[in-house]
Symmetry: C2
Subunit: 422 residues, 2 copies
């Protein structure tokens, strides 16, 4: 079937972006453009939204240098989307629209770069395409800073945010330590991870154990007990003169209520959203009166390509390349995975897993990785995390700033006359 | 006078630390240890507090490798202090105690590494020493991330925080841009600078003008007008799909009230301190309903040695070295300065200025550096700032993390029997 071997490929980014999702894009695109069995490579502008609205970018119109530069450019160069397709029963029209667009542009390969929601979408697209007589090879490309995808040892995007958080914690802790005698005694850093504490755990790499900062990590996996926490803070300040706390945005009370939703109100009585760090800092101030500071890294942490992990960049590229290789080998409805062969020395290889096994599942930090007191990481966790932040992969600089890629984003001529309303 | 040429030297860090204050320490210490005219080099543990309590560190007992590593280590390796000596009239005892300790340890050279308060202290020490018959050469070493010292083109510490803020703004802006169609439309980053907007201004380097992020900078120098701000946010989201805002912690209403003191209260009605970013973000949400995110970089920005400016590191070292050279040349009660000879290509040299000219003064961002609409920087400001963030000076890494120096901190044997209560 010579026609199908010369179909086009479609790539889209999905969900929250990362420092290395464009490295995966680079892996997909470079590999696809090199293949004689793929005609053109398109990307969705703003992810799957671009497919639904027939807003496709002709990736082949970008220079080779720009495409290469994606490897060192953070965030989503083609645009990503927080847009979860509904279940097929609720909204079959969305899936049929995707197939309509894919058919119009002769897209035989669909590479979807995202988290577990996206793997679910990719699976359904492959099923509906087949049902509608337009079979598409759908391969997921794993991406999530939260590191919560199952069946892969780690997720591209996580290693870099882990490195950022570990480095920043080490640096801020030195700051606090040097000032504690006459100034700030408690520092609180809030990090991402609403459901899983992997990013918070990574802060633990900054120190060597309970006596080194971060002295306290608050995981989503460990119900927050204010009394026990406040006692630990006091003990820490007494013993060391200061206390560095890393709190996950997902840290919650035993009843499941997030610390960040502590009922804070502004001057007008409106609920004030967000910020586990100020809540924790305030709690410490009211109980102990210590001078405090707090930081919320927010997007800074997941966009920080300037301090990306080299291992993470390599893995992000590798899963992108592997996705295309799998598709070309005729393997459908799978996601490439990172398989750890050994921790020391660190050795990994690419595997793959059916999309159905990944979809809509979450991998939390296991009890064996959390210290018995609930406030730190174990040696096993350290062995797991350490290789993931190894190596630096600095972007090139121009006038003191990272020289990140900007795509031209040449649109593919529309073929459909129908509009799609989001 | 052969004795005085073989006196000891004393170095202390003062006030908020920076990514490069230890590079200045390295410049002072390496230069002093090489001089045949200085016997021993001591540092105050926790800054001037170490002098008052006779808690001195024998710097000569550190390895040469550790001392060299100070050049790439953030924060205050010997400890710093927020401890302002009172005026001589109010508390002459503190100054006399300093002279007592300096006399006991035959300290003929005092190097004080800090901001304008510290320059005032150094000046008074030199005056009182002379009055008490124990003359001391007092040389200030400029340091402040706020860049608000007068008579020097820039302050060591500023270039690195400026680079951090510019890089982080560029990265986070890419993140927001790539998600804006279906997710966050407004991102607010809070940066330091309670009285001067230099750090906020540096964020302006991330983009090329009003149409590129950061779209809005809120300076302490420009009174905050909510209506005008909110209109600009809406115009920006309409034109670009998103809006990146950088707010200085010192941004204030026309009546001088800080945005951060907006009367926010927690669930118990207690005043909640801090955070101009959440206040601004909330304001945008209530007016326009846009989805938002906010970040507060806090200590992360001033401790971020991993992304220090090479120019800043070099200047920090140079002012430390120059301080010792000035002292050895018999120049008293001065502070080395950075003198800009040209912006493009960037050329600078070391000058010096009397301590009395620096003490207790603040240099704000001048009107010529703030765009007419008050929301951005001018071309003149860009020409001033750009050279200061030039070049990278990466620390060495070990296991994925910066390998920062830890001093042994061998104490100098006490000579006084009197205690000093802080």
């Amino acid at each position: 079937m010579s026609k199908s071997t010369r179909q086009n490929a479609f790539y889209a980014q999905s969900g929250g972006v990362s420092a290395v999702i464009n490295a995966s894009a680079c892996g997909v695109i470079e590999t696809a453009l090199r293949s004689k069995r793929i005609r053109r490579v398109y990307a969705g502008r703003d992810g799957i939204v671009g497919a639904l609205t027939e807003d496709l970018i002709d990736v082949g119109r970008e220079s080779r240098a720009t495409l290469r530069a994606l490897k060192h450019t953070p965030a989503g160069a083609f645009g990503s989307a927080r847009f979860k397709l509904k279940g097929i029963e609720q909204n079959r029209a969305e899936y049929e629209r995707l197939i309509e667009v894919f058919r119009a542009h002769d897209i035989g390969h669909f590479f979807y770069n995202g988290g577990n929601d996206s793997m679910d979408t990719a699976l359904k697209v492959s099923q509906i395409g087949a049902a509608l007589g337009f079979p598409i090879t759908c391969v997921g490309v794993p991406k999530t800073v939260d590191n919560d995808l199952p069946h892969t040892d780690c997720c591209p995007g996580f290693g870099s945010v882990a490195k950022y958080v570990a480095v920043s914690t080490r640096e801020a802790a030195l700051d606090v330590a040097s000032m504690a005698r006459t100034s700030t005694k408690v520092f609180v850093l809030e990090v991402m991870g609403r459901h899983a504490g992997w990013i918070a755990a990574a802060a633990g790499l900054a120190g060597g154990g309970p006596d080194e900062p971060p002295h306290i990590i608050l995981f989503p996996e460990v119900p927050f007990e204010p009394q026990r926490f406040l006692e630990r803070v006091r003990a820490c300040v007494t013993a060391h003169g200061y206390c560095v706390i890393v709190v996950s945005e997902g840290a919650a009370y035993p009843d499941g209520k997030f610390l960040a939703d502590a009922g804070t109100r502004d001057a007008f009585g409106h609920t004030q959203l967000g910020g586990a760090a100020p809540v924790v800092a305030n709690m410490v101030r009211e109980a102990h009166g210590y001078k405090y500071h707090w930081a919320v890294a927010d997007y800074l942490q997941r966009a920080a390509r300037h301090i990306a992990s080299r291992v993470d960049v390599e893995q992000a590229y590798a899963v992108g390349r592997a996705a295309v290789q799998l598709a070309l080998a005729g393997v459908n409805a799978v996601m490439p995975t990172i398989v750890r062969r050994s921790s020391s020395p660190y050795r990994w290889q690419i595997g793959h897993v059916p999309l159905g096994a990944v979809a809509n599942q979450e991998k939390k930090v296991p009890p064996a990785y959390i210290r018995e007191d609930g406030f730190g990481i174990t040696a096993a966790c350290r062995r797991y995390l350490e290789p993931l932040i190894a190596g630096e992969a600095y972007p090139p600089y121009r006038k003191g700033l990272p020289d990140y890629a900007h795509i031209k984003g040449v649109p593919v001529r529309r073929k459909l006359t129908t509009e799609f309303k989001l």
